[in-house]
């Protein structure tokens, strides 16, 4: 019984986590290019985008993998970086051609 209660509580707390996440890799050139754009949008929206590096943090990589259903679709079949995941809307942007406009719209949805 308890196990069921625990896991549903965990599920609820995950669902209440409404972060806007930028997944990036230190060795990825496209991430480096997009980084200042994400920072700009984040500043404009009051510092609301959480940046998580995924090639040097297993914890961040595990979190990114947990969103694989959405990310695989957004990235065309693999767990691509740079990518942005909105925990509230469960919508993602992925890849080297993400524009500032798209990030603003994704963040404000």
């Amino acid at each position: 019984m308890n196990v069921g209660v625990d896991s549903s509580l965990k599920g609820d707390s995950m669902a209440e986590d409404n972060r806007l996440i930028f997944f990036w890799g230190r060795e990825c050139p496209h991430c480096a290019k997009l980084h200042p754009v994400v920072n700009e949008v984040s500043q404009e929206l009051g510092g609301s985008i959480t940046e998580l590096e995924v090639w040097h943090s297993e914890e961040n990589a595990t979190l990114m993998r947990s969103y694989k259903d959405v990310l695989l679709e957004a990235c065309g079949g693999s767990l691509g970086v740079p990518s942005l995941y909105n925990e509230k809307t469960k919508k993602a942007l992925c890849g080297k051609n993400i524009t500032k406009q798209e990030i603003v719209e994704w963040a404000q949805e």
């Binding site: 050139p29 090639w55 693999s78």
Partner: protein, 146 residues
């Protein structure tokens, strides 16, 4: 290649020139010496001894650039002409090799399943990527259609 097929892969040795092949069956014609029907099964520890480590390593940016350039010969794609970008990508792959053991694509992350992640070794089989079909570039943009 499916996981079921991967499991069927074995090591084979050419009994004429000691070529080693890793696959479901040995090649009919040895790609190195041309001998026919010369491949016999060999086990992993013995094969590792047959492959003599002469210290060659693909561990520098220039070596990767050279390997990629050669890989594009007679292919419908070429290396991205932006050399700075290509060098940055090479550095990223070398860092991935140092930190994670293989030259994984820096523009994606591993799934955590070692066999699945073999698909992320660069150069990957990018022909199957939707992005290559649509835009003519591999996911990272390292290789672009001619």
């Amino acid at each position: 290649m499916t996981k079921e097929e991967m499991v069927k892969k074995k090591l084979w040795r050419c009994n004429v020139c000691n070529d080693i092949h890793y696959g479901i069956r040995g090649p009919v014609i040895c790609p190195t010496c041309g001998a026919r029907n010369a491949f016999a099964l060999i086990d992993y520890p013995e094969a590792m001894k047959v492959i003599i480590d002469r210290g060659d390593r693909l561990d520098e940016v220039d070596k990767l650039l050279d390997l990629w350039e050669k890989f594009t010969h007679d292919k419908p794609f070429k290396l991205n002409p932006d050399e700075d970008f290509v060098r940055q990508l090479a550095k990223g792959e070398l860092a991935n090799e140092a930190n994670h053991g293989l030259k994984y694509c820096p523009c994606r992350i591993t799934t955590g399943d070692f066999e699945d992640d073999l698909d992320l070794i660069c150069p990957c089989n990018f022909f199957i990527q939707p992005v290559y079909k649509e835009s003519g570039e591999c996911w990272c943009g390292l290789f672009v259609k001619r």
